[in-house]
Point group: C2
DNA sequence: TGCCGTTGATTGTCAGACAGTCATATAGTC
DNA sequence: GACTATATGACTGTCTGACAATCAACGGCA
């Protein structure tokens, strides 16, 4: 009767019980939940019952609740007063807004990268593309493509050297991941993406900040467009 | 021995004890603390000792802690493990980053406003300027100017109709308020601001989204520049 | 003067309790 | 049999008290 989540098929994240290590326990709890949400093991609309979480993660209710506040502030969880937390879901409209915001922020990041980075960073950035190309050519699963693309972003953020912008971007990225579809699931999109990133790296290499920013914004908008189109033909989210 | 904050001179916000009303208690606590921080009644660097907060606000430690997690996620409070929460402080560099991000986001908002709003909204937006002008001409205190400007933003955000962008902007705005100086404390800056906003409204009225976005970004950058210049000649933040 | 152990202040976490509220199942009514 | 009023159960919101672990400051000692 309880333990609904634990019984859920394929709920692999339940294995991640909490063990007392360095970081505050609540941060570990947040991380586990955050990851489960972003990776869609916890589905949008799904209730997060405190008692179930405490049983599953073996921590006290107080700790779980503090974590939930954190996730709430990040927009990954929605709290309905007197009803508790549910995994957040976003509307198409919100998703569109988030993509727009991402375009703006990422452009800024690219601009920063161009302005303040050195040849070494540019080389490293360019170096992240070949693995991506190989993954695409080999028809690897979406997860691996995303991982490869993450490395691109890692270098970009590192070079832009702005914790503020990094934080902003990752919170936006987490929220769009609430949509089930990635633009990368659309046929042909991975190749397009690679082309866009290649062009972007080209502009960065030429130290053309304006052009790079423009390409970047366009890239995000394209991703958003395909992703949302993809989404439009899937089933609706889990009802409350 | 306890009650240090309550005894603090001029700590007017302490009067705001919690009373049980509709919203969850923790939200009231968050609001009180957030406001106290943004209005600089709690200074950057100041420790927020849980016991003192519970005494002052008359709520349990659990409730206070949940609020602190929320403020932490908003970036208004920094938590040092095993030492607890302190009011966040930001470096000049971070502040500059935030202003840049604000410029990007606000431009987007203005663009949205132009794209999707009607004459009525534009009139309302223009209508917020005269009170601002009067406040400036009458040499009213900075607080009142800020309030008048807030009304301008209210209309703008309302017309842009995007909760995502509103949330983003207000979190950025809260964080820069951690700097003590407002650009408005600089001599002549209020008048400049008014001129910039007037030009902005003009572009919006003409439905020129590009120009409006450009003016808006410029406005934010100007505000950032003066604000940070102002800041540079004040005393350093309260040490930990 | 500078190192080190003691002490006090606080945080991190836990368990248990209880009122209030929402949703649902149950019983009673027409 | 459909419909409403009520009882029940499942949870959340909040509080209290407790205790180990850690940090910071103090004072003693070399």
């Amino acid at each position: 009767m309880t333990d609904k989540i634990r019984e859920a098929p394929g709920a692999s994240w339940t294995a991640a019980r909490m063990s007392r290590v360095a970081a505050p326990l609540r941060d570990q709890v947040s991380s586990v939940l955050r990851q489960a949400i972003v990776e869609r093991e916890l589905r949008p609309g799904q209730r997060l019952v405190e008692r179930e979480l405490t049983d599953m993660l073996q921590v006290s209710r107080a700790t779980v609740r503090e974590s939930l506040r954190e996730l709430e502030a990040e927009g990954l969880v929605t709290v309905i007063p007197q009803r508790g937390a549910v995994v957040a879901s976003i509307s198409m409209k919100e998703a569109a807004d988030i993509y727009e915001a991402r375009a703006a922020i990422e452009s800024l990041i690219v601009r920063r990268f161009v302005e303040r980075t050195d040849e070494e960073h540019i080389r490293r950035l360019a170096g992240t593309l070949p693995p991506l190309r190989e993954a695409i050519d080999a028809g690897r699963p979406v997860g691996e493509l995303l991982a490869a693309k993450d490395r691109f972003y890692d270098v970009l953020l590192d070079g832009a050297d702005s914790s503020v912008l990094s934080t902003l971007l990752s919170s936006l990225q987490a929220r769009v991941s609430l949509l089930r579809a990635t633009s990368l699931t659309a046929a042909g999109r991975p190749a397009e993406m690679l082309a866009e990133l290649t062009a972007l790296v080209g502009a960065i290499g030429a130290r053309d900040a304006d052009e790079a920013a423009r390409l970047c914004a366009e890239h995000v908008r394209n991703a958003g467009r395909t992703g949302m189109a993809e989404l439009a033909r899937e089933e609706p989210p889990v009802p409350a």
